[in-house]
């Protein structure tokens, strides 16, 4: 019986070392083939016609004119007369042609007639949403409040319980009022964060082909193992006749778990025409349909005692996740990380004429952090106190926690590290009281976050060949997080081999099933599965080598290409020689991880703290990031270089949604006004300042095993940067992104 465990930090030879990512050279020289890049012989290029209106009923649709366009081979409607379309960009028809240009011309030739219907897209406007007058579906949905406003849940919790003479229905509300009245400090404010899109640089789509009755879909997906059935069912075949393949994916961020109806359309057209089909969304379609993160706007009243510890929280927030299914940021995350003893929180979801949101890195968390940890910073500002001290006080202690997620001691230790790296003591000043250089003022801010991230359900098959070759098969995917490299390091550790000697086969639905890459679950899942398989495989080899060397197999270890008695290289065989003992047939060992099991290999719940140092020009409203510090716990770190890269990336994504990024819709027509990349502003190389990443891996956290990293570091930047700007200006810029216009408006409102 093999006891599964990770090696101690000082014993590990592969795990925890800095290595180049395995697929780096392919990516850097253009050899890596993404779904968009797969060129199949005789392929057709498909393009979709997006609905120009945000809300309309189709009265007629005619694709015949498209068929007259030279080069067009196939055209079919995806919608029919009478269908109601509830967001701009929804695909109405698709054209397949010999070239992209012919397909585009074919799309233009399609004739559609519509009746336009009233539009509502003002997701920041609760009053307007509630006042919308339109037909109500029958039966009336139970959660519909009025207009476009839907109940999203809520909870009131007070320490004091109603007495015999209290009215239970109103007790909580009265208690919240009493507590606020008795608070030493009260902050009343509004905050917000606009919708952003996933904006994957490789749009959603696939290149597909049939061979006999079998479909191969080169799908841009973060869910290789579980999308075959999504193709099969609508095509009236079974999932065993579908192979989903994805070696490389050009960004997913939570938006690419599905085959999507355009993927199925590609397969249908390939079948109808007998030719392979490439169907990738156009850029504007990607921004309209490919996924978005719900907005969130909040009104808050917060009451603290004389020490700045929040005793009561009262908030109402709203926002939109689109038209299909009214949703928004979960009230369960309000306020974020901090858990005040008394609270009332109310969530309202607005239904707007936008495509439904998709999971965006750390669903709910970045928005919840941005709209609540800003209030804690405003408390510090109101008290004239140091924000870092106020955050510390509200965290509590491990014995008496005032927070959730990681232990307070983890956040507190990370705060110490981060404060040193950002120079908190040297640079911090009371809000709005720093020195000005001309019109430029500087400020510091912080925020903290947590995420679950337990390893997903993953299986693998590790094969050791009699000639010493090692390979693994696993139906996972590498989103650019370094999954290939992580798997190679885990097996390299098990067998004492260089990591680049391990052949990692991933990205096919025909390999052993692995979970989708979502929720920071991949690294835990694949590393635990491979550690188990690797340890099992080595135990079998050790048994053979033990016999040959006449030693106890348990005394053997794999080091530097040899299998040796621990600490005694003289008593050893080379890895190659050891593998010859396997016999003629390769040794094949399965490995698995189950998400529901908590083991020492993978665990849950990390903590992270981030600090921002900004400079703000009060005349232009332009904010510049001077320095950003991210301190992150992730349990045991397999591949530090890739972990660091992922944190850099998360911070940069955070800078984008803090300063630049927003989906802008015309309130009258619902048209998205910035669905091209020159208008949809992302951070560029010159915008990011100095970023410092600190990997927090003390034995207390490392011993918990591997925990995922995709979500956590993208959560805090919004609040950290907003707090730094508030510290600089002495004025809160309430809504993200903090565009120059909003900065100037906030300054003006204060005067």
């Amino acid at each position: 019986m093999v006891e599964y465990s990770w090696p101690a930090k000082d014993k590990a030879t592969a795990i925890g070392t800095r290595v180049k990512r395995l697929d780096g050279p392919e990516k850097a020289t253009g050899k890596a083939k993404y779904s968009y890049d797969i060129n199949l012989k005789n392929q057709l290029i498909a393009k979709g016609l997006g609905c120009p209106h945000a809300h309309a009923k189709i009265t007629s649709i005619d694709v015949a004119p498209a068929l007259k366009v030279p080069g067009v081979v196939h055209a079919e409607p995806l919608k029919k007369s009478g269908d109601e379309i509830e967001w701009q960009g929804e695909l109405l028809a698709v054209v397949a042609a010999e070239s992209p240009a012919a397909a585009a011309e074919g799309v233009k030739a399609i004739k559609v007639e519509y009746v336009q219907l009233p539009v509502f897209v003002e997701e920041d406007n609760l009053v307007a949403a509630s006042a919308v007058v339109e037909p109500v579906p029958t039966p009336r949905p139970p959660n519909l409040i009025s207009g476009r406003a839907w109940k999203g849940g809520g909870k009131t919790l007070t320490v004091k319980e109603p007495g015999d003479n209290d009215d239970e229905a109103t007790f909580g509300d009265k208690e919240i009022e009493r507590l606020l009245k008795e608070s030493a400090y009260v902050v009343e404010a509004t905050y917000g964060i606009d919708t952003i899109t996933h904006c994957c640089l490789e749009p959603h789509g696939s290149t597909v082909e049939w061979s006999g009755g079998k479909l191969t879909a080169h799908l841009s997906t973060q869910n290789v193992s579980q999308t075959a059935g999504q193709f099969a069912t609508p095509l009236s075949i079974t999932a065993d006749d579908v192979t989903v393949h994805c070696d490389y994916i050009g960004g997913g961020f939570g938006s690419k778990f599905q085959a999507d109806y355009w993927g199925v359309a590609a397969a249908r057209i390939a079948k109808a025409t007998g030719r392979p089909v490439k169907f990738m969304l156009d850029r504007d379609q990607e921004l309209k349909l490919g996924g978005s993160r719900p907005s969130a706007y909040i009104t808050v009243r917060l009451g603290a005692d004389k020490d700045g510890v929040v005793q009561v929280w009262d908030s109402s927030h709203w926002g939109s996740a689109g038209a299909s299914n009214p949703g928004g940021v979960s009230e369960g995350q309000i306020p974020y990380v901090f858990t005040p003893p008394n609270y009332r929180r109310l969530q309202t979801n607005l239904k707007t004429n936008h495509a439904q949101a998709r999971a965006w890195r750390a669903p709910n968390h970045p928005q919840a952090c941005a709209i609540t940890q800003t209030a804690y910073d405003d408390l510090a500002a109101k008290m004239g106190a140091d924000s870092l001290e106020i955050f510390k006080k509200n965290l509590g202690t491990d014995a008496k926690s005032g927070s959730r997620g990681a232990k307070p001691s983890v956040y507190l230790a990370e705060m110490e590290i981060g404060a040193k790296l950002i120079g908190w003591k040297e640079h911090w000043h009371p809000h709005g009281k720093g020195p000005a250089k001309g019109s430029v003022v500087e400020g510091l801010g912080l925020a903290l976050h947590t995420w679950g991230g337990g390893g997903n359900n993953s299986t693998c098959s590790v094969k050791i060949h009699p000639d010493g070759g090692v390979e693994t098969f696993c139906g996972t995917q590498d989103l650019g997080t370094g999954t290939r490299t992580v798997i190679a390091l885990v097996l390299a550790e098990c067998f004492g081999l260089p990591y680049d000697a391990i052949k990692v086969n991933i990205g096919s639905s025909k390999y052993p099933t692995a979970g989708a890459s979502g929720g920071s679950t991949t690294v835990g899942g694949v590393s635990a599965a491979h550690r188990r398989a690797g340890q099992e495989a080595f135990a079998k080899i050790a048994e053979l080598v033990g016999k040959k060397l006449e030693v106890e197999p348990a005394t053997l270890e794999a080091v530097k290409g040899r299998v040796q008695v621990a600490g005694n290289p003289a008593k050893s065989v080379s890895w190659k020689e050891a593998c010859t003992l396997i016999g003629m047939t390769p040794l094949e060992v399965p490995g698995a991880n189950r998400n529901s099991e908590r083991t020492n290999l993978t665990s849950i719940q990390v903590g992270g703290v981030q600090f921002a140092h900004v400079a703000v020009d009060k005349e232009t409203g332009v904010i510049k990031l001077k320095k950003f510090v991210a301190v992150q716990d992730m349990g045991l770190i397999i591949s530090p270089q890739q972990a660091e890269s992922q944190i850099y990336g998360a911070v940069i994504m955070g800078i984008a949604y803090s300063l630049f990024e927003q989906r802008i819709s015309d309130p009258k027509t619902g048209a998205i006004l910035n669905a091209e990349l020159k208008d949809y502003k992302l951070a560029r190389l010159g915008d990011v300042g100095e970023i410092v990443v600190s990997l927090y891996e003390p034995e207390s956290e490392r011993s918990r095993g591997v925990i995922g990293l995709g979500e956590p570091p993208v959560i805090s930047p919004g609040a950290a940067i907003s707090n730094a700007v508030a510290n600089a200006l002495g004025v809160r810029v309430p809504t993200l992104p903090m565009t120059p216009q909003r900065v100037l408006a906030a300054i003006k409102a204060k005067v």
Binding site: G24, A101, G250, G251, R283, E644
Partner: protein
Amino acid sequence: MAQLTTSPQKATRPPSGFSRRDFLRGSGAVAAATAVHQQATAIAQEVKAAAVPISGEQSIDLDVNGKPVKVKAEPRTTLLDVLRLQLDLTGAKPICTDGSSGGATVLVDGKPMQANMMLAMQAVGKKIQTVESLVGDAVPNAFVACDAQQCGFCTPGFVVAVRAFLNQKPKATEEEIRAGLNGNLCRCGTYANIIHAALMVVKGGTNG
């Protein structure tokens, strides 16, 4: 080239029965016959000389990564589509429609250009270099060494852009790098490591 792009607003129909709109669409409208079947360079020269419109699919010669190649192009066919769909050089990516992403950056006579913003016929007579030609170059090597990539979809465009930038400024400072490489977008957020990579090349790292 100017004749191919001037005055699109004045798309009035000349006496020959050819409209500029038809020409741009390449939809088979009758073109002035003289240029139609000639080779690419000749076409380009003729067009320059007489503003003779061309239409439909032509065979043209390009110089890609130091090799002469014969491809088919309509007037509307982009260089990017030719590279990706006919030559299977898929390093340059179709990320944007407006040139703002830098995803399709290639070198044209040594200058960084967006292959999706350039017609294939404009590339006739020019030396095209794609990221695929940079195997072994210090820039992609530095990208690997510094882990300046995540999903990797923007990486080829960035590699070419950094190569072009450092050809111009081989001794670039960090400040110049931060100021000079803003034509390319990355969504995963690899900028920090791209800065490291560019600096590594400036310092002479990863050569050979």
